[in-house]
């Protein structure tokens, strides 16, 4: 780490410290890992280079994560839409996922990560995709459509003409709304404040929404 310390100019380093939640050692470690992802010719200029998404996904911390693509998409500031990340995007990501980030920031970014179609709310399709991500990629492990129905019904009430209507008639079996508390205003979608309300009550969120290099 001593060698790479000379590669980030001092004022940049202190600026990064001020703007993110990371400590100096963490920033230097991030720099080291980031420059390892670049091909050798570009390593000198790591602060301004962009790393393509495929390279980012080889990081062990992101490799096993089911939300890897969405994470890259949310944190990338590339104008060409190819989800490549610069060093500052990388630092941004680490700062949000660090230990000292506030739970507000974490829940805000978690919302963006779970919002697969980027429309600002979590609707039925987002929740379906979320469940599919969580249950892994294998065929046997994925939930059947009936089970998916029940889960999502439990997360929010029966849709009013949104998307495909559930044809299995599970609403008769549904227990009285254990989960409709997520959707406080009962509009069929979960917006940011509802999401933050649910997630802030969870004792596990802050400790599980963490990535450390």
């Amino acid at each position: 780490m001593g060698g790479s310390a000379s590669l980030i100019p001092r004022d940049l380093l202190s600026e990064y410290q001020e703007l993110t939640f990371l400590s100096k050692q963490e920033i230097l470690l991030a720099y080291k890992r980031f420059s390892e992802l670049l091909p050798k010719e570009e390593r000198e200029n790591a602060c301004s280079a962009r790393v393509p998404k495929s390279q980012i996904l080889t990081l062990p911390e992101l490799r096993a994560n089911p939300f890897q693509h969405q994470i890259c998409h949310v944190f990338s500031t590339s104008e060409s839409g190819d989800d490549s990340m610069s060093f500052e995007d990388f630092l941004d990501m680490l700062s949000v996922f660090s230990d000292s980030a506030t739970s507000d920031i974490k829940s805000h970014y978690a919302f963006r990560i779970f919002d697969f179609d980027n429309d600002g709310i979590l609707d039925r399709k987002d929740l379906e995709q979320l469940v599919n991500c969580l249950t892994g990629q294998g065929e046997e492990s994925q939930l059947s459509s009936a089970e998916m129905e029940q889960l999502i019904q439990n997360v929010r009430p029966a849709g009013q003409g949104m998307g495909t209507a559930p044809g299995t008639g599970l609403s008769a079996h549904l227990p009285p709304q254990i989960l409709e508390e997520s959707d406080i205003d009962k509009d069929g979608t979960i917006n940011l404040s509802e999401f933050q309300h649910v997630v802030s009550r969870s004792p596990d969120f802050a400790s599980s929404f963490k990535i450390v290099l």
């Binding site: 994560n65 003409g161 227990p175 254990i178 649910v198 599980s208």
Partner: protein, 768 residues
């Protein structure tokens, strides 16, 4: 004609005259004007002159005062600005210093990389055990610092050296075996007569050139370590309760499962697969559970089985309690008959039995609980409760047995005191007549008969228990985890069934068992450290080696758990147990301090009737007299009872206010719901109206879009507010943390290191 000419001439003349008059008048007027002007000018000039004179006369003073005034104003303004900048600058420097200090502190945290590695392989619940271990290590370091620095070192440096007093010397009878390894391992011999135990300390009021008050320091360190432990455990509990969001809300189960169940720390594909599987199973379970909760099983059979299981568990507990009691009694018998006649087993019976019970009974409870058929979470709680009861029962039986021994020793002491007088008389026998004041004969301290020092005995028992507990844990890890893993790995090739998936397989890391073991170990330390100041030191060593050994064992021999139980939800549960144990551990120590007389010839309180008398003695001698009076008044029951009453009332009041807050919360939620329904209704009406007006085919999108728009406005409403509103309402707007000041919210609380803004923010908040 002449007349006419005359008249004409006259006219002309008159006209001329008139003209001349007019001209003259004009000239006069002009002159007058000129004069006036001149006069005016003169006057003005005079005025100016006067002014100039005035200015010249008074002008200097005026200018001076004005200038001075300006200077002063400018000066103060400059000063103010200068001070402000200086303040900001120094504040920035202070913040920078704080940041550097934080960096330094994080660099100082031990074992950080190890724990991160474990986190990435096993998830956050296993890592939480190690974080807990590290936290305990920190507490023990401080306790060690207290006992070492304020008790052991002063006595070693400034007290009387070894061999000068009877209490500080090995008795003649034991001298031969005092340096043997076996005796030292047993903490008798030289180890017993050293600063490690209570009995070595002298009861001199002040020692050394510093006039260090040894007995007072001993007492206060004992009380202070308990006080410090209470404080830090309560503080951690409060912090955890804060993070929890103040409550055990089980109303969001599914949502939490969906949004928070993925552990982002997992970096290992194998662990990730495990995690996927466990999430899927938990979803399926939860769905099935909801469906099955309506089913009515055979209630009677379940109830009978559960009663049977509880009965069995109670039997086990009672059995273990009795076993310990029996074994302690036997060891007393052995001690009476002299320990040399017995082998290793008899000597260490008590400790080994307690450790073995701690190892096997939990597995027994696990087997019993399979009868009960509970939900896994509830079964875990029952399991933890039973193990807790087991450890508690064992500990308290141990203490009761110890109390019996203490009473025996007290009886013995009376006999020894009596014998001492006879022995002293025999020294003077034949040399000097009785009742004289001759100087005492020099006797070698090793030969003086000793009273049985019950405090040292208690300390020794606790130290032995800790050491044997440590050895048992290490051996369990080595055999249970390591050898088992080796066996499964290498014998898998030549075995009938698949060892890795079948019976033995690799072991999982038992979080709850380990945490409970740690908690009870700490309870023993708290109990025994008053009588054996070396206990915190031994515990520090034990935790240090435990950390390395367990980290290695976890990475090498364990597999990630299949059912992942979040430790964080139980975090406060473990803290609550720790607090409970702390409270229970202090009870025996307090009882012995308050009601049992200290030994007459060993320890810092020898010669007093009760140990706490050292406090009253210090108040008498070292503090001015009015202090003693104040204390006397303060400890009056007339003052203490109203104080207790006040505390009870305040607890009741706080409870009532918290209930009212919860109700207010529910009200607000209802309001939100009704508000949203209103919005929906209004939007529908609007949509209908516009539909009637336009008669266009209407999509179903806009109605949801409108409330969506509203909500988006709400969620971005914070961004539109000015910073003062945002600050005062306490909303932390979510702005881009990359910008030093976000354009909308100047004092956003999400900016971690925005120095001046933080100061201003605190100040404004206080103001408002």
């Amino acid at each position: 004609e002449r007349e006419r000419e005359n008249e004409e001439e006259k006219d002309v003349k008159e006209k001329k005259r008139k003209k001349k008059k007019k001209e003259k008048e004009k000239e006069k007027e002009k002159k007058k004007k000129k004069k006036k002007k001149k006069k005016k000018k003169e006057k003005e000039k005079e005025k100016e002159r006067k002014r100039k004179r005035k200015r010249k006369k008074i002008g200097k003073k005026e200018r001076v005062t004005l200038a001075q005034g300006i200077n002063v104003h400018l000066g103060t303004e400059m000063m103010v600005w200068f001070l402000f900048f200086l303040f900001c600058d120094s504040f920035q420097k202070w913040m920078k210093f704080q940041r550097d200090f934080e960096n330094f502190k994080t660099a100082c945290i031990p074992w950080e990389m190890k724990i991160k590695e474990i986190e990435s392989h096993f998830g956050s619940s296993v890592a939480s055990y190690f974080i807990f271990l590290r936290w305990m290590y920190g507490i023990n370091m401080i306790l060690f610092g207290l006992t070492f620095g304020l008790v052991m070192v002063p006595e070693a440096l400034m007290g009387k050296p070894y061999g000068s007093l009877p209490r500080k010397t090995v008795p003649r009878a034991e001298e031969a075996t005092a340096m043997n390894f076996a005796t030292l391992w047993d903490f008798s011999g030289f180890a017993q007569y050293s600063v490690l135990f209570y009995g070595y300390y002298n009861n001199q009021r002040t020692i050394g050139w510093l006039k260090f008050r040894m007995p007072l320091s001993y007492f206060l360190v004992g009380v202070g370590s308990i006080g410090y432990s209470f404080m830090i455990v309560t503080r951690t509990m409060a912090k955890n309760a804060n993070d929890d969001g103040g409550g055990d809300d089980t109303s969001f189960n599914f949502s939490w499962k969906m949004f928070t169940s993925w552990d982002y720390l997992i970096g290992n594909p194998e662990t990730a697969d495990n995690k996927f599987a466990s999430i899927t199973t938990s979803f399926k379970e939860a769905i099935v559970e909801e469906q099955e909760s309506r089913k009515e099983e055979n209630i009677h059979l379940t109830r009978f089985l559960r009663v049977l299981a509880n009965f069995l568990a109670l039997c086990t507990l009672a059995g273990s309690g009795y076993l310990i009691f029996f074994v302690v009694r036997r060891s007393q018998q052995f001690a009476l008959e002299g320990l040399e006649n017995y082998g290793w087993w008899e000597r260490n019976e008590v400790n080994t039995v307690m450790s073995l019970l701690g190892m096997f009974c939990p597995t027994l409870f696990d087997v019993i609980s399979s009868l009960e058929n509970y939900h896994p979470r509830i079964a875990l709680r029952w399991q933890l409760g039973r193990i807790f009861a087991l450890f508690l029962g064992n500990l308290y039986t141990f203490i009761i047995a110890l109390m019996d021994e203490i009473n025996l020793k007290l009886e013995e002491e009376k006999i020894v005191k009596y014998n001492m007088t006879i022995w002293e008389a025999s020294l003077y026998n034949g040399t000097i007549p009785e009742n004289s004041t001759a100087p005492p004969i020099q006797v070698d301290p090793a030969d003086v008969p000793r009273g049985p020092c019950w405090e040292t005995m208690v300390g020794q028992e606790f130290v032995r228990l800790t050491v044997s507990d440590m050895m048992t844990t290490y051996i369990t890890i080595l055999i249970g985890d390591f050898l088992r893993a080796v066996f499964v790995r290498f014998f898998n090739y030549c075995w009938c069934w698949d060892l890795e998936y079948g019976f033995p397989s690799y072991s999982e890391f038992d979080i709850s068992g380990n945490v409970l073991g740690l908690i009870f170990n700490q309870g023993m330390i708290w109990m025994g450290s008053f009588y054996a100041p070396c206990l915190p030191a031994i515990n520090v060593f034990r935790l240090h080696t435990s950390m390395y050994l367990q980290c290695w064992a976890v990475m090498c021999c364990n597999v990630p758990q299949e059912r992942v139980f979040k430790a964080s939800r139980s975090n406060n549960f473990y803290m609550a147990m720790l607090l409970f144990i702390l409270f229970l551990s202090t009870l025996p120590a307090v009882y012995t301090i308050v009601s049992i007389p200290p030994s007459f010839d060993c320890g810092p309180f020898s010669g007093k009737t009760r140990m706490f008398e050292v406090i009253s003695e210090t108040l008498e001698h070292d503090f001015p007299s009015w202090f003693g009076k104040v204390f006397g008044y303060a400890s009056n029951p007339g003052l203490i009872l109203p104080f207790i009453l006040l505390m009870v009332l305040s607890i009741y009041y706080l409870n009532a206010t918290s209930k009212s807050y919860k109700e207010a919360n529910l009200e607000l939620k209802k309001k939100l719901q009704s508000q949203a329904e209103e919005n929906k209704r209004r939007n529908k009406q609007k949509a209908q109206k516009s539909n009637e007006q336009e008669e266009n085919p209407f999509e179903t999108e806009p109605p949801p879009a409108k409330p969506k728009g509203d909500k988006q406005d709400e969620s971005t409403a914070n961004k539109g507010k000015n910073w003062f509103e945002c600050l005062v309402m306490g909303n932390s707007c979510v702005c881009d943390p990359r910008l030093p000041h976000c354009l909308d919210c100047f004092l956003c609380s999400n900016h971690p290191h925005n120095a001046e803004s933080q100061v201003l923010a605190y100040f404004l908040r206080w103001l408002v």
